[in-house]
Symmetry: C2
Subunit: 193 residues, 2 copies
């Protein structure tokens, strides 16, 4: 997605510790036209698979997932990382270890909003090592729903997430690809695929 690649090249920075900062585009501020185009691009990829639901993970997955669900015209469900007081019935849950967030991430989706009738596209902000997405895929499998594909806004190719997701056997679509980055200021961004 050309506009996203240009925006990351213009605004993205690499912080100490090798952390990519794209807060002005994804993680703190959202640009409406760019976000809409993320949704349109994912919908073009996954619409032909006839999804009934978009599933994402709070917090930063919500915007691109909602934009996608608006184009597809299907509900969007976001997995919670803390079980809220309103989630009192049975839940699908899984854990993964997050390197960037530090520590264990726990995910919760209520049985009410994910079932064996669903055909699911997962949309998230980052594809790094893919661990949290694999955990979410396990919850979707447990629900009996069919996972159709996964879309992530930004792929960090060097963290091998795409290879780790290969076992799922579904298409993985990303919009921008961080080929290389370092704290010295190197940030090589290409179109996703």
């Amino acid at each position: 997605m050309r506009a996203l690649v240009d925006a990351i090249r213009a605004q993205g920075t690499v912080l100490p510790g090798g952390i990519l900062k794209v807060d002005g585009l994804i993680n703190h501020q959202l640009l409406p036209q760019l976000t809409r185009e993320m949704g349109e691009t994912f919908a073009r990829s996954f619409g032909p698979l006839k999804p009934t639901k978009v599933v994402t993970i709070e917090v930063s997955g919500i915007a691109p997932a909602l934009a996608t669900s608006m184009v597809l015209g299907v509900p969007m469900v976001y997995a919670r990382k803390k079980r809220p007081v309103t989630m009192q019935g049975p839940v699908y849950t899984a854990q993964s270890v997050s390197r960037t967030k530090g520590g264990v991430v726990e995910l919760f989706v209520s049985h009410e909003y994910l079932s064996a009738d669903d055909r699911v596209v997962v949309i998230d902000d980052f594809l790094a090592s893919g661990g949290t997405l694999l955990a979410l895929a396990g919850m979707i499998r447990e629900s009996g729903a069919q996972l159709l594909g996964m879309g992530c806004v930004v792929e960090k190719a060097f963290e091998n997430g795409r290879a780790n997701l290969a076992s799922l056997g579904v298409p993985v679509r990303t919009l921008a690809n961080i080929v290389r980055m370092d704290e010295g200021g190197t940030l090589v961004v290409e179109a996703g695929h």
Copy 2:
């Protein structure tokens, strides 16, 4: 907003402790057409005030705020409740006490995305006592930005948030109004105003 009132009447439930559950509409699952209409309704109210930015609070404010920002064509910024590793520069911050969440809520907005040039509309999911929204308004004032108005998807009229926000001197718009509710099954919903 008629469609929202109908949806809350059909799906909303009151949990023990007097907590309103609207997870199928706002806090766990989002319906694309309903969410789009939230954005259109807020944009009709606040568009004439010529906002340059929509500001909300993670997590459940993001969807209605993004929908509003897409109609208005201005960026959306979401206040973080934990300071992420990417937020290393100066921040606006404030605290409030949340009854429903239990304990102190801390808010963070980077100076990068809110400035004295901004004309801000705040959009959030719930208007209860209004404490967290007042804290956010204080951060906006500190930035030098002008607060134009506040929009909340669901108002709990009996928690007096509207009176508590009156000191801000800006229009407050809500889409549905919980007039009365109790654990016995009473849930009286009217149009917001």
